[in-house]
């Protein structure tokens, strides 16, 4: 288990991470989200020991790690940094063999891992000939060397198209049971596969929890879009008036009502009485992107 205990990071006068409390449980998949400059990469760099907290501390299994603890921790760590340019002059196989030696992993693991990430056929091609998706898979392959217990993936789906993202997620299924920390600014995509979400903004945790808990914490209103019959508007306005938290706007002949989550059921119940005066109704829960924008 890893815990940030009031950990901070400053660069001169710039506070990249404000005092931060965060616990990452064993086998948990945690998604770290935020806009560019929100502190995601700083958090991940601290997590793998590339950057030390300016204040507070990072605890691994309950104690602050010393140099030898870091060495031990990194034996069971797989790290996939953002925008890494692997060795252009080496083949995929030679690249992995180099990293396998650094991790003192049996070189016999190299080809099976390349097969696992779908690069066996390209193993003997130079990585300079690889596509973006292939490079990402090779990058993941080096992170998977030695069957790590802990994976830290910084923007792993950055630049991948929809197929690439789907393939990448398929690959990740094989590491279920491991602790995985992702960072991304593509929240809706990653939120499907993580257990908890941590939203960072200006170096602070703005929201932390499961997807449902996040909706509760942020409490964005639900939108009810109504296609009314001619006379519905007045009665609808009356129904909205009963609720303190609701607001009504008219858009292209539709009525859009924003209702607080706590009033949602009551409003829908009131609306039922007007059902004969409506052609159609659509209920829109806020998206995770809206949650991210709201918190950011």
């Amino acid at each position: 288990m890893i815990r940030f205990d009031r950990a901070t990071k400053t660069f001169g006068s710039l506070e990249a991470l404000a005092p931060l409390d965060l616990e990452i449980k064993d086998s948990e998949w945690l998604g770290v989200f935020g806009r560019n400059g929100s502190g995601k990469t700083t958090l991940l760099r601290m997590l793998v020991g590339l950057s030390q907290p300016s204040g507070g501390q990072l605890l691994i299994d309950g104690k602050p790690p010393g140099p030898e603890d870091w060495r031990e921790f990194r034996r069971s760590l797989g790290f996939m940094p953002e925008r890494v340019a692997l060795f252009d002059n080496l083949t995929g196989e030679k690249t992995l063999r180099y990293f396998a030696r650094l991790k003192q992993v049996d070189l016999g693991e190299v080809m099976p891992i390349l097969e696992r990430v779908g690069l066996a056929d390209a193993a003997h091609r130079k990585t300079s000939d690889y596509s973006k998706g292939m490079r990402q898979r090779l990058n993941l392959a080096q992170a998977l060397l030695g069957d790590p217990k802990f994976l830290v993936l910084d923007e792993p789906i950055e630049g991948l198209d929809a197929h690439g993202v789907r393939d990448f997620f398929e690959l990740l299924k094989s590491v279920k049971g491991r602790t995985v920390v992702f960072s991304s600014h593509r929240l809706p995509l990653i939120s499907r596969i993580v257990d908890r979400i941590c939203i960072l903004s200006q170096g602070k945790i703005k929201a932390l929890g499961t997807e449902d808990e996040l909706y509760e914490q942020v409490n964005l209103p639900v939108r009810v879009v109504i296609h009314p019959a001619d006379s519905a508007s007045t009665r609808l306005a009356a129904a909205v008036d009963k609720l303190d938290s609701a607001s009504l706007v008219s858009q292209n002949g539709r009525l859009v009502v924003s209702v607080a989550q706590k009033d949602k059921l009551r409003f829908l119940s009131d609306l039922q009485a007007l059902s004969s005066e409506m052609h159609d109704i659509r209920i829109e829960e806020p998206s995770l992107e809206e949650v991210l924008l709201e918190t950011g």
Partner: protein, 277 residues
């Protein structure tokens, strides 16, 4: 993982990368061509054309080494470490079970081995030709080769310091060329200027000590002392007092170790502050 294995893994990768670099082999070939030309023409100043006159030839090869070896070493190491950082590889490698000191040492070792191979390839064939044609003292030539390797290592250590100070490969190359011009050309002109300015009245120990401030002059002094038969064309080295061998060797060693130690310290400090580039 054993520390030595980690260092060697990094060194092997760097060595292989450097040896793939065509620029190094091009320069090595040029140096080889120049040394072979000297082997046949080097005694021309003393009126002998052809592979004769071993002492003068050795002196010419020494002078060639003073110009080209520092340049090769400085340009080779100009982007060391910083380039890896810019490509994101440094972060990746340091997230493996390897310390930053092991990484630093492994990188320097890889560069130093590549430089040594390039220098051996440049100077040994000429030595073989000379030993067969002029009966040159093989021991003296071997000693010269060791000195050339020491000179190269000193400037490679300087190039690591320049690279980490400059934070950018392009700026690193520009700074390296300036350091080369200063060490090879400007420094000695400055000393000559001082000598003339003081009417030749600078005490010999003080003048000698000033020469120790430049690794190319340390190289010349050692060559002057140890490869003595070729002393005549060695410029300022001939007006310096003879130093005990231990002082000269210590100075040459210091020129390799001090810049390397400083660059390691700076690397560690900037790494800790996340300000390597």
């Amino acid at each position: 993982m054993k520390r030595v294995d980690a260092v060697w893994s990094i060194a092997r990768k760097e060595l292989s990368d450097r040896l793939r670099n065509q620029w190094i082999w091009t320069v090595s070939l040029l140096v080889l061509a120049a040394t072979l030309a000297i082997a046949f023409l080097g005694a021309a100043p003393v009126g002998v054309v052809g592979a004769h006159g071993g002492g003068a030839i050795l002196a010419s090869i020494m002078n060639l080494a003073v110009y080209l070896v520092p340049l090769l070493a400085l340009v080779m190491g100009a982007g060391a470490i910083i380039d890896e950082k810019r490509r994101g590889l440094l972060d990746l490698i340091l997230a493996y079970p390897i310390s930053s000191s092991e990484y630093f040492l492994g990188t320097f070792l890889g560069y130093a081995l590549a430089l040594a191979i390039a220098l051996v390839a440049s100077f040994v064939p000429t030595g073989v030709v000379l030993s067969m044609t002029t009966g040159i003292n093989v021991f003296q030539y071997s000693l010269l080769l060791v000195l050339i390797l020491g000179l190269g290592t000193s400037f490679l250590a300087l190039s690591f310091l320049i690279s980490i100070l400059s934070r950018d490969p392009a700026r690193g190359i520009a700074s390296s060329v300036l350091v080369w011009i200063f060490a090879v050309l400007v420094f000695d002109l400055g000393l000559v200027g001082l000598l003339v300015g003081f009417g030749g009245q600078i005490p010999a120990p003080a003048f000698g000590a000033m020469m120790l401030l430049n690794p190319t002059d340390v190289f010349r002094l050692i060559a002057f002392t140890w490869v003595g038969s070729a002393s005549s064309p060695l410029g300022l080295a001939t007006v310096s007092p003879p130093f005990p061998a231990v002082v000269l060797v210590s100075a040459m060693t210091a020129w390799a170790i001090v810049p390397l130690w400083l660059s390691h310290r700076l690397f560690q400090k900037r790494l800790a502050l996340d300000r390597l580039i």
